[in-house]
Symmetry: C2
Subunit: 585 residues, 2 copies
């Protein structure tokens, strides 16, 4: 008899069906045995009674997670026993016959027990994956990629696969390497992104490309990232910033409708990078709540408070955030905890003031004259019971500490409407950022990002001022994706490499073939790449990246289930011409 | 003005449009300049005349592969100048204005020149990819995966991504390894297939899984395979052989209809592995033509021809193929060439007879008595002008040499209807094959394939006789994919590993977690994996695997464009705790 899925029983009242699935729960009640039977579509109650002795005898041996095949009639439950927690709760199946397909030992932990440590869950991932939440997130992930593909296919984008055995390049993060057996001492690298390949596809006239593809970065341990992550990679020819923004707004609108049935309004808000840093201190602002940063550098030039004054004199900045009507919520001890928090972002301390009974109070209040206090109240819009936090340091430290403090307080004070989806484009990015370790400018996005036309002349003189045709899409404080219009002129590309400190030889060795490729007819082109893991995290409202990946790695890049990485045989090492150095050398 | 695609001009007669694309060709004719403008959608003729002097002056500077933007009116061509080779051949665009977006140097070779060596093409792959054939095959590849996804999504299969940084296992082909930086001396392996992961997903209750995913094998050079290849990977719970065959027949029918508009009839033919070897000598028979192998071992027991007789006495076999009405087409020299060919498959020679004027002729004819000649004629159904080739050796050599000779002759003699799509399922595979190098039985498919119920008792005594619940789908002599119903019982899985010669320790170290996983409620399950590259080769009728891959590697696994694999820095090696052995050691 052909199998009926659990959810299909809804349509089969009074019919005889055969169900297959797992025993979720067994209860015995006055000669009756009740089984909650689970399959991929849902859960239904099966009843074994004494009219079918043989089946009921077998049912008596059932334990959790046994895999069974049951045949029986679908009947309406007595109204008093309806289970409103499951979709089939008004029905039950009265079993005629039962067949055990597979027995099960007691699993190493209760499947839905949230107290189990993540390491144990990861070791028994195949048990953990039975959890409803993981079933749901992975199915949502599938719906998400299906919706993305559908949208892009309809827009005539071509899904082209690019190589995994690629080449190591000096720019960007650390590569994972793959030793070659055939070519002694040589290595492939796993791609950090298909950037170069997709640009070459534009040169070849494919015009519209996409791929949903794994990328790899051998990151430092302290960042809780997965060594392999999935990118939704898009590239288009004959495009510009407006066109790319329009395409991606329609794409995201489509995805949110298909996956979550949420109507997202387009066009999205836009904000320049400079504005985001000014008002939010971070390049991925969460705009679901206010508490914007207030610039106080001008104000601080003539205060008596030396910390502020000298910071500004030495080229630093002073900013504040105002926590409305919350002075009474934060004790000194609470504030000390917040001070520890901002120190994570390089701040040396956390100055604060409260506004109570028409005046600022707090340890630094005394450093401000009455006039300056009035001026401050004016600038901050301070009001009764407001709490003000200050940052005074170089700009990067002030922005990072106050920007992140703002996010933390927004969550703590429940200022965030979790049903909101606030998309915002961050535009006009700097083309370069200064790498203090390497003491040189590096590409803020990557070296193929085009500078704004009007800034090209600054490339050789004041690179820090050059803005890029780059755009990131930010949702609720998280970067969903980013992209740019690329350089399509080989001379400009050479100029860019030079500004990045490449010698002629380095440029030729690493990117010679690419610069040459641009000489045979390069269309203007641009693209965008989404982090799929992050997108699915936002769609499923989970904070743990491991919830959206079927077989994730730990933060030290281990697979606890497979026990990987692992030792390999000497034969394998010999074939790859490799020796392992003794530890500690 | 917004861009119009070339093909959209068909709908825009007498309208003014802006086209963007590449200069395919320029001709000057009596003060007029004609440009063939190409974009991703097609080619259209653009005319520059003296009414628009400025545009025509710029047009005069155009060369092949320049990227341009042209605005002009779509008009009907004079009937005498219609170009029937292009879809827009009845139209042309009379240009008002022209803008050069990007100049182009002369490409390193003429794009459509077939005489250019493949190495040069691969080095300049971005130029080669402009070839219409490659554009078409890669777009067909996209259509193929889109159709597969659509079908499987509609059947409620869930696309789940599995890890690329996986674990090295001793079974199967050679792994590509990825050294770990964090875990000294340890390695990941790139997956040869997601086999274990997809089975774990079945244990977790996903029930229906698919993935279109890259897999990796570090193959020997002599096989012209790509080191990375794409697999369409499918797994289903609560299935059996009939259900899997039905699912995949409907899938292939859908794909051929969507991609090629070809109606494929289902159900497909089926053939046991033993039958395929008997009649075709290979496990992937091309059934588009006859010329089946004829078994002559019984016949040979009492012939005077010692080669045949002693072969059979020593446990070998004798078989023949009859090439109808072709004796006059093959000279001795031609036959000697065929003899060289079968030697590639281990044959020591190639005995033959011709049938002419009612009798067999040829060097071995004298070894057969008149009675035996009559018997032979009868068995072979030999007729005037037939040519007979014989194989006498151990079975594997006879089958391989005659089976491949049959395919070669089928092509040479034009016996194959290239419009036919002959699908055939090969079933009832042996579970094991004997590995002569390792002197042990290895899994013919993989160690998770289930034996036929009735053969389980043979596992420990005569493994060579055990048949598997395995099936391959073969199209026109090529294996498209293969799969099996898996072992879902942990005790049987242990038995299987033991039959493969695993010690308790090896089994525990390598697959302990998997055997354990099966103890927590394993549904019966099975699956199938297609080689996507091969499928697209058959859909696009190309013999060269590199035609269906955007950025392929050479047969020595090199990327000639990127120059990969390549040397890496000492810093990188140090981080990975690796040293390269001197060459020759």
């Amino acid at each position: 008899m052909s199998r009926t899925l659990v959810l299909e029983t809804l349509e089969k009242l009074n019919e005889t069906v055969t169900l297959k699935g797992w025993v979720q729960r067994r209860r015995d009640l006055g000669g009756l045995i009740f089984i909650d039977l689970r399959d991929a579509s849902g859960v239904v109650q099966v009843v074994f009674n004494q009219d079918h002795k043989e089946a009921t005898e077998i049912a008596d041996t059932l334990r959790s997670e046994y895999v069974i095949e049951v045949t029986g009639e679908v009947v309406k439950r007595d109204p008093s026993t309806v289970n409103e927690n499951i979709q089939t709760g008004e029905l039950e199946v009265v079993a005629d016959s039962l067949n055990v397909l597979s027995k099960a030992e007691t699993p190493p932990f209760q499947i839905e027990d949230d107290a189990v440590s993540e390491d144990v869950r990861l070791k028994y991932r195949y048990v953990d994956l039975k959890r409803q939440k993981l079933q749901d997130t992975l199915r949502t992930r599938h719906k998400t990629t299906a919706a993305i593909r559908e949208f892009l296919n309809n827009e005539f984008f071509v899904d082209v696969e690019t190589p995994f055995l690629s080449k190591s390049t000096p720019e960007g993060a650390r590569d994972y390497l793959v030793p070659s057996r055939i070519h002694h001492g040589e290595f492939y690298a796993l791609p950090q992104s298909p950037q170069i390949y997709k640009q070459l596809l534009m040169l070849s006239g494919f015009e519209r490309y996409y791929q949903i593809v794994k990328c790899f970065r051998d990151e430092d341990l302290r960042r809780d990232r997965q060594p392999e992550f999935t990118q939704v990679d898009i590239e288009k020819s004959f495009t510009d910033v407006e066109d790319m923004i329009d395409l991606n707004e329609r794409l995201l609108q489509y995805v949110f409708k298909e996956v979550k049935d949420i109507d997202v309004e387009i066009p999205f808000a836009r904000m320049t990078y400079d504005d985001a840093m000014l008002k939010y201190g971070v390049d991925k602002p969460d705009t679901r709540f206010g508490m914007e940063l207030v610039e106080l550098s001008d104000f601080s030039k003539d205060v008596d408070f030396k910390v502020f004054k000298s910071t500004v004199e030495n080229g630093g900045i002073v900013k504040a955030i105002v926590v409305k009507d919350s002075a009474d919520k934060y004790s000194r001890k609470d504030i000390e905890a917040l001070e520890e928090y901002v120190k994570l972002y390089g701040a040396k301390g956390l100055a604060w003031l409260k506004y109570n009974d028409g005046a600022f109070t707090g340890p630094i209040a005394k450093f401000f004259s009455e006039d300056k206090q009035n001026e401050l109240k004016e600038i901050l819009g301070a009001d009764e019971n407001d709490l003000v936090f200050f940052g005074a340091d170089k700009a990067s430290v002030v922005n990072a500490s106050l920007g992140n403090l703002r996010n933390k307080l927004g969550k703590e004070l429940d200022l965030i409407d979790e049903d909101k989806y606030n998309f915002v484009w961050i535009t006009d990015w700097p083309l370069f950022e200064y790498d203090e370790d390497e003491e040189r400018f590096v590409a803020a996005h990557h070296p193929f990002t085009s500078p704004k036309e009007e800034d090209i002349e600054l490339l050789e003189t004041t690179p820090e001022k050059v803005k890029a045709n780059a755009y990131d899409i930010v949702l609720n404080g998280y970067e969903l994706g980013g992209g740019s219009i690329r350089i399509s002129n080989p001379e400009l590309q050479e100029k860019m490499f030079k500004a990045l400190g490449f010698s002629e030889k380095q440029m030729h060795d690493q990117f010679g073939f690419l610069i040459e490729a641009f000489k045979y007819g390069a269309p203007p082109h641009g693209g965008l790449a989404y982090g799929l893991d992050r997108l699915v995290m936002l769609l499923t409202k989970t904070d743990n990246i491991r919830d959206v990946i079927a077989f994730p790695k730990t933060s030290s890049a281990q697979d606890l289930m497979m026990d990987s990485p692992s030792n390999v045989s000497n034969r394998q090492l010999n074939e790859l011409h490799l020796q392992i150095k003794p530890e500690g050398k």
